[in-house]
Amino acid sequence: MVIVNIVVTALLGAGVFFTLVGSIGLLRFPDFYTRLHATGKCDTLGGGLIILGAMIYHFFQYPETLLVPAKLAFLILFIFIANPTATHAIMKAAYKTGVEPWRMGEERR
């Protein structure tokens, strides 16, 4: 049981680290397009790692119900397909409405 505790703690820690980095990037980057780079990639992987850790914890703590890890696996797959699609949709809307991208040397917006 100690090995399982260490693996789950490592996965949860890595997931929370990537989520924190994505949120700091949302505050620090100077332009709308670069902020979407930070959140669209880091939030997907961070959430996926946290749910993976919870799935492994469930295997060893409640071994009689195996339906919940199947639902969590489908949730991970759904997040990996839905988050990049939503990012692309909102970036396309901003590009067609005429939001200008940021070059190096300008001021923050």
């Binding site: 469930h58 949730l75 909102i90 067609k96 409405t97």
Partner: protein, 88 residues
């Protein structure tokens, strides 16, 4: 193990607070839509971990439902901002 889940819940709530600043003060409407989408994604993760903290692992149904609602909401908003109307 339960205290590790409690620390995870606290850290995810702190990151949601950081994203809320961008939702309030972002110049223009696109920054706000992106921030609300990110808060929705973090809500799903928070629901799953809270289920294991309270020792009732059946909150994952609600998380699955809210993931779909959040995705459809962001797509509809982006389509409205691009065209100016929903049905053409």
């Amino acid at each position: 193990m339960i205290t590790i889940f409690w620390v995870t819940i606290l850290l995810i709530a702190i990151t949601m607070g950081l994203s809320l600043y961008r939702a309030v003060a972002g110049p223009g409407v696109f920054n706000r839509v992106a921030a609300v989408n990110i808060i929705g994604t973090k809500t799903i993760v928070l629901l799953v971990v809270m289920g294991y903290y309270f020792e009732r692992p059946y909150f994952s149904d609600i998380a699955l439902l809210y993931a779909m609602i959040n995705f459809i909401g962001t797509l509809v908003f982006a389509k409205y901002l691009e065209r100016g109307e929903l049905w053409s």
